[in-house]
Symmetry: C2
Subunit: 409 residues, 2 copies
């Protein structure tokens, strides 16, 4: 069960003018549900993306990057669950290209205008034949209100579909942002990875859309960690169809840029948090905010050292204010000249450590009270500058081991 | 239950001339067993150490470094279990010094000739009074054959005592090396940390002993990981009493240096592996050997990326040849220009990945057979140079979560 997350109802997911979604069951795994999604974008749409840093990046990631290098003119996204098409060598890229070619034929567009995404088990060949055969059903079912069916079809170890919408008024015109994501470990047993797609009807130029994708990812999907592993397939895509009847936004100096970025970030942050709330075995949602660093990078390192420590994560699971583990994790964050005597931290509003030692005011029962909550805030002050960083994570439970020790069947 | 580890019998632990050990019950925690160890070293003994890189290093680590800076002339080690004296600020260093001063009075030596070590819960004040009161019993029980009692008294979440002896002939004289260690997570729930002590009666100069300590640690305790966390208290100490009637070894060029280093390393590697075999919840012992790197550092990063990945560790626990997770971990090891097409890996003698993709010869049943073993070898070839690195680790089981989610009582 995810931590405090209720998926949106189908009618809460607002159609984005210029975007239609269709699904089909290609039986990539032994599932009866739909597992392939085709997203058709009207002519004039642009896309930009941010991809995994893993050196063993998957074939669809390689092909996505190639296709986006053609100028971000995008007419379709093809997404499959159940097979990651990763660790598959040159056959994998051939397979991803074959799927794109089939979509290009079906929609009468260029192959490079199709972006492929896969999530699932690594090192198995992609069943191209079954995916291509399923395309006609995807095309038949294309609908502007296909978001709910689509987000269900991209799930793997996810226990809930993750999607969100937001509407903002720009130039007196309502602009829609709708997005969907999947992921519950950064990469998971059989399968799983993080995929995120956010679409808007706002008109945005290609260059600016690239900046928007990087900026939105930095504030949302790059701020979460479930188990510290970066998948071979992680992808985040922003699509702008340009259907809204307003003048194109071409620069970050445009006064309309900030409200649009804010709307995209709201949706992306909701999706990113939903991934953590549905993290494998998660029973708690934890926000780790680090302040007072010399630069954002060192704040981020401290936040991740806490978020990824198995000992800290098991203490959260146990509701145990074993707070020496947080102290230890801060000390492990590779800040060479960190002075422990300047470090303080809080659990929600409870001061635990002041000046590097246990705060005189700290009482175990206060720590216990906060640790027992389903939502916990950790605030760390490094006392050496003005930079900040925030990371969202979950605990490490028996559920995580059970899910990940299950055989891939 | 540790993986394939049987602790030595008391008479397998050879006394080291010049070393006596005594123990006592200071009731630092709610234990009835001994929890304080005094190691007395005869005049002329020298010590050298290697300590945690954690920025929040514990008070005894700070005091150890100060005392060793006086010239490595050491007359006593004082070790307590149950309290780490870490995250305790300036009171912590005062407390560690007070304990050393009490030992110095009891043994009639200088305070800086006493090295303090603590392992246990973080952020609790050290019960100095109870430790000092226990010293007289430690002194009364001092004995050259006190190793077995001592190694039992330093245990925390360890399920077995970890000690080893080795004898080597140098200049026709038998030289003894005996060591003991504790640790089962790199840091653990209530307590736990890694402490290692190895003593020899060989005469070695102070400068050379420092080099020996670094070299032995690099080949033993620095090659293990249970959960990737470096404790606030990790310490490894080599003691040379110089009691053996041979001329002092003053340089690494001395022909007698290699057999002595080998004997010390044998004992240290046995202790280090015992820590992994007794890792919290461990059911498997895994050796990860990486070859073909440009330098040892990148081989080490790849080995640790595999060893510390929760997904790889849970796959080992499940005996599941879900080997895409190893591919993914290799890709996450931060080698910027790694070419996946040059990477191969083996499970024992089974070739799994060749040239970046699944080997044509690989059969799932072969992978399953190796994964089901209690001892597993992973060999990775990076195909870009001649460097190598090896890391020993264990799996991540329900037992780990249970041990670490237990409340600190």
């Amino acid at each position: 069960m995810p931590v405090n997350y209720i998926p949106p109802t189908p009618d809460e997911l607002l159609p984005v003018p210029g975007v239609s979604l269709g699904t089909a069951a290609a039986r990539i795994k032994n599932w009866s549900r739909d597992d392939v999604v085709l997203v058709r974008l009207d002519p004039g749409s642009r896309a930009a993306g941010v991809f995994t840093q893993n050196r063993f990046c998957a074939a669809p990631v390689i092909v996505c990057r190639e296709h986006l290098a053609h100028g971000q003119v995008t007419r379709a996204l093809l997404i499959n669950a159940g097979n990651a098409n990763a660790g598959t060598g040159s056959r994998g890229t051939d397979d991803a290209r074959a799927c794109c070619a089939a979509v290009a034929r079906a929609l009468d567009c260029a192959e490079y205008e199709v972006l492929p995404f896969s999530t699932g088990v690594i090192m198995e060949p992609l069943p191209v034949g079954r995916i291509v055969a399923a395309l006609s059903h995807c095309v038949e079912s294309l609908s502007p209100s296909g978001w709910d069916a689509a987000v269900r079809a991209i799930m793997t170890t996810d226990t809930v579909p993750k999607a969100a919408s937001h509407r903002v008024e720009i130039d007196g015109t309502p602009i829609t942002v709708t997005g969907m994501a999947k992921g519950s470990g950064m990469i998971a047993p059989d399968m799983a990875t993080m995929l995120g797609f956010v679409a808007t009807d706002a008109p945005v130029t290609g260059v600016l859309l690239g900046e928007i994708a990087a900026s939105v990812a930095a504030a949302s999907f790059n701020r979460i960690t479930v188990d510290g592993d970066t998948s071979t397939n992680d992808s985040f895509i922003v699509v702008a169809t340009g259907k809204a009847p307003i003048a194109p936004i071409v620069s970050a100096d445009d006064l309309r840029f900030a409200p649009l970025l804010d709307a995209l970030q709201r949706v992306a942050v909701q999706l990113a948090k939903a991934i953590v709330r549905d993290g494998e075995g998660a029973t708690k949602f934890i926000t780790i905010a680090v302040e007072g660093g010399r630069d954002d990078g060192e704040c981020d390192r401290v936040a991740r050292a806490i978020a990824d420590s198995p000992l800290v994560k098991t203490a959260f699971f146990a509701s145990d204010p074993n707070l020496g583990r947080i102290v230890c994790a801060i000390g492990n964050a590779a800040i060479e000249d960190l002075d422990p005597a300047c470090v303080s931290f809080w659990l929600d509003d409870v001061l635990v450590v002041a000046d590097g030692g246990r705060a005189a005011s700290y009482r175990e029962e206060d720590g216990k009270r906060v640790m027992a909550q389903a939502e916990i805030g950790v605030r760390v002050a490094l006392g050496r500058g003005g930079a900040t960083a925030t990371v969202w994570t979950c605990d490490l439970s028996h559920g995580y081991v059970t899910i990940n020790a299950d055989y891939r069947s």
